[in-house]
Amino acid sequence: MTPDLLEEGTKRREAYLARQASALTVGESGGQAASFGRVVSSTGEVDTAHGGILYVDDITVSFDGFRALNKLTLNIAVGELRCIIGPNGAGKTTMMDVITGKTKPDSGRAFFGSNIDLLRLRESEIAGRGIGRKFQKPTVFEQLSVFENLELALKMDRRVRASLMHKLTSADSDRIAEMLKLIHLKDSGSRTAGDLSHGQKQWLEIGMLLMQDPKLLLLDEPVAGMTDEETERTAELFLSLEGTHSLVVVEHDMKFIGELVNGGQREKKKIVTVLHEGSVLAEGALADVQANERVVEVYLGR
């Protein structure tokens, strides 16, 4: 390791410690400390040996002078279910754009695990490394059948030649059948996806995400347009994924957030992050966040 790299690592660690001291709570979010000074490699599997799956550090994105993200820092631990709330324009979707490679930030860094530099990869590569994203508006392949939608999301070689030669194995079919059951579309496999209801499309998209077998799921308003019953089932689904997957849920629906935070088997308190004007306004247990004066001012008490 070269001396200047060591020096850079020290500098960053100091900056990090300073920030940590001023943060509200850090909880069990992946500690970044251990990864400083490691050589970055952008190939191979994600390295989560240090307990963190996503490190977003000091990200700034501006559009024509307007700062959509302002030195945003966010860490997600392996297996964590993190809820992110914030008023419109707080930068939630832009944050997801940065993590999934759609928008390149002006400054800052974003790592998947401790070894994958997200800012150097394209969308498809990031998805291939194990980050799945659900859009705000349900986005499925409207003119293909539900079955085909899931088939395309199936984890396999994504290259052109492989797709041309691909034959569906019975193990694959079984997986798809299981997924259809899980997302409550058991009898709709041959239906055209465009004919599904809004809530069913949301589920199909979640199902497609799960077919990719991602390590980290980014879910942008996953229950928008769902009935109460569907919302409840979705919360159950997410809670069942907690632990085996890391989830980041952006949501407006406080009832749903409540279900996510209070449900599940884990005894530790889950962290809720409040975004405002492109940076973290508050972070901590739901009750603490809800009691935070500034949060009440900008968001909850509007």
């Binding site: 559009f63 024509d64 959509a68 979707t93 832009t94 754009d97 759609k102 928008t103 859009f135 705000q136 508006k137 986005t139």
Partner: protein
């Protein structure tokens, strides 16, 4: 030797007696044959020999060769007209033998023939024809035509033409075989400020031209002197024609900036709306000519609103019947509007015929202001330049300062919100599209003053104008202006360097590459990318 002697005798004879009498027996059938058949080099030699001694028969032969009605049968060259043949040399009627073969002329031979035809024009009765001949000969000046010029000089009475002939003569003399003659010619030419003289002298300096050091030095000085006089005129000329093209492009694109830029409608029939504006101008012109001949010079004042409303009306009808149903489906809009353009073109052909119709400039728009020896700014182009800025200012005011503009902006930015605020969005769509179409009509009116008016008028501009909008960035009036003017000037600058077609290709390639780098245009608004 004998031929040489004969030639000089004949030259003397013709110089003495004006050849218009035509009785001379200058063109023998042998000469005619040597002009018509053989290797190109020999034919050209024969032609220039014959030119030293022109007569009507030669003029007749050249005309026939140029329109491919000359045939060769055996030793005789025959000219065929309406199935009747005459001998090239004598003009005597004869029958056309079945064995007669066509005379084939390639490009080089054709150029020579054109030059020869021009040379004969020097002796025309008409002043303009003589002038044209001089202009044409300038491009193909060589020593071989010298005797011809001398004779023309001797006969010329008009002072202006005489001066031009002198210069032409000097141009031929720079290539003379006598050094002193060359030096004199260079000195005479150095006082010129014509671009063609400069290129002529420049050519002599190139490899294969002048070899004598003294003459070369004189040539260099002369070229520099002329260049100094020309350079500013040229630069300004390029910039002006660039601005002129740019102003037309941006007038064309301004309408698109509204329909495509603001409304997002890909209107492939935009060019045809221009065509409607141009035809409206034509109709107004005809009406004035017929009913108000005294006020003919002011028809254009009436044509401007007419072309606007004609195109706007058609635009509104299109929006109501077709385009309205295709909002949000750009590719379908593209196809449907292409279909509309076909129908409009064919409609014009049905009513006005497939030929171009004549649109005359009012007298105060024809001609131009002579700024420098090689720089004339035509009035019509100056007027269009101002007109386009006037239209731009009006549109800008309309969009940014009026209630209609506010509604248009509101509807295009957030349709449902505008609808909630009680704006009749359907009506606003129609108005906005009609406005864009009307501006296209104005562009057509402007175009009618500088170009041809025909059913295909719009086709040539559609690619260019879309390029301007795409380059300027969607939804941007300012971007459209910069892109239009910029592309115009760039096009003209390149044209001087590579020629018109290559310039256009380079500009298109440049835009294609540019869009790759900045898909949103020069003045793109960055924004949070919504999904899909």
């Amino acid at each position: 030797m004998l031929r040489h002697l004969l030639n000089s005798v004949l030259v003397a004879a013709v110089s003495a007696a004006s050849f218009v009498s035509g009785s001379a027996i200058a063109l023998t059938s042998d000469t005619a044959k040597r002009i018509a058949v053989g290797e190109n080099d020999d034919r050209i030699k024969a032609l220039s020999d014959a030119l030293t001694n022109p007569d009507e028969a030669l003029a007749r032969l050249i005309d026939a060769l140029l329109d491919d009605s000359a045939k060769v049968a055996g030793d005789a060259v025959l000219l065929v007209n309406n199935g009747k043949a005459i001998h090239a040399a004598t003009g005597a009627a004869t029958t056309l033998p079945a064995t007669a073969e066509d005379v084939v002329n390639n490009n080089r031979m054709r150029n020579e023939l054109e030059g020869a035809k021009a040379a004969l024009g020097l002796f025309s009765e008409s002043l303009t024809k003589r002038n044209n001949a001089i202009v044409q000969l300038k491009d193909s000046a060589d020593e071989g035509k010298l005797p011809l010029i001398d004779r023309a000089l001797a006969k010329e009475t008009d002072a202006g033409l005489k001066a031009k002939l002198e210069q032409l003569r000097a141009a031929m003399l720079v290539a003379s075989s006598d050094k002193q003659k060359r030096l004199d010619a260079v000195a005479a030419l150095a006082s010129s400020s014509q671009p063609s003289v400069r290129s002529l002298l420049q050519e002599r300096l190139n490899a294969g031209g002048e070899t004598d050091p003294d003459v070369r030095a004189a040539l260099s000085t002369a070229v520099k002197a002329i260049e100094g006089r020309l350079v500013w005129g040229e630069r300004l000329g390029v910039i002006f024609s660039g601005l002129s093209l740019g102003s037309i492009l941006f007038l064309v694109a301004l309408g698109l900036a509204i329909t495509y830029g603001l409304m997002g409608v890909i209107n492939m029939a935009h060019g045809e709306l221009m065509m409607i504006g141009a035809y409206a101008t034509y109709l107004v012109q005809n009406a004035f000519r017929q009913h108000l001949p005294n006020a003919f010079d002011f028809y254009i004042i009436a044509a401007i609103p007419m072309s606007f409303f004609a195109a706007a009306l058609v635009g509104a009808a299109l929006e109501r019947t077709v385009i309205r149903w295709l909002y949000g489906r750009p590719l379908e809009t593209l196809l449907a509007t292409w279909g509309i353009s076909l129908v409009l073109i064919q409609t014009m052909r049905t009513f006005f015929g497939a030929q171009n119709v004549p649109v005359e400039n009012p007298s105060w728009l024809s001609g131009g202001v002579q700024v420098m020896s090689n720089l004339i700014l035509p009035y019509n182009r100056i007027a269009i330049l101002f007109f386009s800025f006037f239209v731009l200012a009006t549109v800008w005011l309309l969009i940014s300062k009026t209630r209609l503009g506010l509604f248009v902006r509101g509807v295009t930015q957030n349709r449902s919100m505008a609808a909630c605020m009680g704006v009749n969005t359907a009506k606003i769509d129609t108005y906005a599209f009609a406005l864009g179409a009307g501006i296209a009509g104005l562009a057509g009116c402007a175009l009618s003053q500088v170009g041809n008016v025909g059913p295909d008028l719009g086709q040539g501009y559609i690619v260019d104008s879309f390029m301007v909008v795409v380059l300027g960035g969607v939804g941007q009036l300012a971007g459209t202006v910069y892109a239009g003017l910029g592309l115009g000037v760039l096009n003209k600058l390149l044209e001087g360097w590579t020629g018109a077609v290559l310039a256009k290709i380079i500009v298109l390639a440049f835009i294609v590459i540019f869009i790759q780098r900045r898909p949103q245009g020069i003045f793109a608004l960055k924004g949070r990318s919504a999904e899909a």
